[in-house]
């Protein structure tokens, strides 16, 4: 699990730098060796040819002896130069290792460099060869001058080449080691710069007020984290929407409670002021009604707020036997109906109709529909609940013979706190909003219509998740 981009980049980039520089050192070590070899070989050739030129086709002893004298003086001259005249003294180690010999065909040394080995360095063939002389490996270039009857050979121990190559490689390595801390700091700095834009976005989000949900400006965001910020913006938007909805809901709720509260206050004041016993009793009765109404509104608000999670998820989905559930709920509402002498009937042909859903939510739906029907139906009315099935739907219909709702207003009853006639004091205005929400959660449709007999209201809920019936 990658937890820090900075750490990951730092470690891996630094590793990459080490690997690449190591490869470079190894590569340059081999290449340097090759170049050194070529270069030194060419020096051998040149030295041999110069030697041949110096002899100048005169192999008389006088001439050669003169040259040999000068050759023998060279080491002393070099040490003179190295000690006095040159700032960076040449290493005698190198300077004294380049040797040459000139032999005649009888095996006699005609000329040789001051420190040349006594043994023959040359090989029988012209050109380059590698030879072991005095337990040392030598690189040798040989020319057989058949006209003069001499062999000219220039030689140099391999040790020198190896050492040169190694020295160059070692210097490279030193340079590399010196650059590692620098490249480390540079990488760290560059990563920091790159991550700065991410941190800026993070800071911007971190320092937001909790209720500031405006989107982050995508213009100032690096391409790489644009998808992330985009998703964040979407989340902000959804949160904003949800928050707005909640705010509106809370405001609506508070607003809706003001009228019942005003009624409570007024009725209380009337009761306090009056000297008339009957008027006081009436006001107190009204007070109780008002308290009941507030309780009802609060209960409905709570129900609705529980049903309002944004994700539209319904938990605890089970098989529900709709007629049994309806009978249970309706039984609880019968006393309220009997108070108004309203006849309530549940009509279902099949005793078992199974749908998939949340039993508690479905219970609330049925309660609201039947409760509404009882509330809005005048005394001596009729409320009927039908449960029917089609090939793939279960229909729950609640009909009453109350005043009904004009078709043009039917859409509005699903709005929160909308009350059709306004003078029905006991409704919360939330019942149908709750029904609608529960129906939505069950993917069911709610339709309002006029019953067949032409009077009252029919609310039809069509459930698609029909499983079985008997």
């Amino acid at each position: 699990m990658l937890l820090s981009i900075r750490k990951f980049l730092l470690i891996n980039l630094f590793m990459a730098v080490i690997i690449i520089s190591s490869l470079t050192i190894i590569g340059s070590y081999y290449l340097a060796h090759k170049d050194i070899r070529r270069y030194m070989d060419s020096l051998l050739v040149q030295a041999t040819l110069i030697c041949q030129g110096l002899i100048n086709k005169d192999i008389s002893e006088d001439h050669l002896g003169e040259i040999q004298q000068q050759l023998d003086a060279i080491p002393a001259q070099i040490s003179h130069f190295t000690n006095n005249m040159v700032r960076n003294p040449l290493k005698s180690h190198y300077t004294n290792r380049f040797q040459f010999q000139v032999w005649d065909t009888n095996g006699k040394v005609l000329l040789h460099s001051a420190n040349a080995p006594k043994n023959k360095l040359y090989s029988p063939q012209d050109g380059f060869s590698n030879r072991f002389i005095d337990n040392e490996k030598w690189r040798v270039f040989t020319i057989h001058d058949n006209q003069l009857g001499i062999v000219i050979v220039a030689a140099e121990p391999f040790v020198i080449r190896d050492e040169l190559g190694n020295r160059i490689a070692r210097d490279d390595l030193y340079i590399m080691l010196l650059t590692y801390p620098i490249s480390g700091v540079l990488i760290w700095f560059i990563i920091g710069l790159g991550l700065k834009s991410i941190r800026r976005v993070a800071d911007e989000i971190a320092h937001r007020e909790s209720n500031y949900l405006e989107p982050v400006d995508l213009q100032s965001v690096p391409v790489e984290i644009k998808p992330l910020v985009n998703e964040l913006n979407k989340l902000f938007y959804r949160l904003h929407q949800a928050l707005e909805r909640e705010k509106r809901f809370a405001a609506d709720a508070a607003h809706e409670l003001k009228t019942p509260l005003a009624a409570l206050r007024t009725q209380t004041q009337v009761a306090l002021r009056t000297t008339n016993e009957q008027e006081r009793n009436t006001a107190l009765q009204h007070l109780i009604t008002g308290v009941d109404r507030c309780t009802h509104v609060v209960q409905q608000l709570l129900t609705l707020s529980r049903l309002l999670p944004e994700e539209n998820m319904l938990e605890d989905i089970k098989k529900v036997n709709l007629p049994a559930l309806a009978a249970e709920i309706i039984a609880q509402l019968v006393p309220a109906a009997l108070e108004k002498n309203i006849e309530v009937a549940l009509i279902n042909r099949k005793p078992i109709v199974i749908i998939e859903g949340n039993a508690i939510a479905l219970g609330i739906l049925i309660r609201n529909l039947v409760d509404n029907a009882i509330r809005y139906t005048p005394n001596n009315g009729k409320v009927k609940i039908y449960i029917t099935t089609t090939s793939n739907h279960v229909n729950l219909r609640v009909t009453d013979n109350g005043p009904g709702i004009p078709p043009e207003l039917r859409g509005r009853v699903f709005e929160r706190f909308y009350r059709v006639l306004g003078n029905q004091s006991t409704g919360s205005g939330l019942g149908m909003a709750i029904v609608q929400q529960i129906a939505l959660l069950h993917k069911a449709k709610v339709k309002l219509a006029t019953p067949k007999n032409g009077k009252g209201l029919e609310v039809k809920v069509m459930f698609p998740n029909y499983l079985s019936s008997k």
Partner: protein, 219 residues
Amino acid sequence: MRVLLVEDDELLGDGARAGLLQVGYSVDWLKDGLAAKYALETETFDIIVLDLGLPKLAGLELLRHIRAQGIATPVIILTARESVEDKIKGLDAGADDYISKPFDLDELYARIRALLRRRSNRAQPTIAFANLELDPASHTLKREGKLVSLPRREFALLHKLLENTGHVLSRDQLMQSLYSWDEEVDSNTLEVHIHNLRKKLDADYIRTIRGIGYMVEKR
């Protein structure tokens, strides 16, 4: 004083009506905007207490309509909406005052009194006339500094007459300011009240204009 209460909420309407009746106003309570509109086209009220969220015709529309008709009756808006914008909208539509729910009945009374005072161009909260001093707030009448006990209706009748000194008030106007529509009243009730007032005030401030009504002359 005759108050038109337009409130669709049963409990609040009932409470407000009872409260206004307690202090001697005659109250007509209507539950939707349309009924109020019709009532205002034919009847006169001293003050209108108007809810905004009304069925059939919204309170603000009703308000604009009656102002367009030239009805200048003072209007107190009674509403749960209390944002500044709402208040501005209400006042600009022609309301004279604004009271938000839940409210105190005493505050409602005081605001009604203030509007009535303003309408009759009085600066004093009490009405002084000859040796009388009528205080609408405390519902008291003083004659030469001494309290005179008056029943609710008689006080209201005197209040109405003193508010309109120099104007003849018809029998209908006076009856409407004393009784709501739903109250059953004998035909000579007004005469009885006038008679009682004259007796208690010990002076004939109230002139009968035969066939038309009554008036108190300006002094």
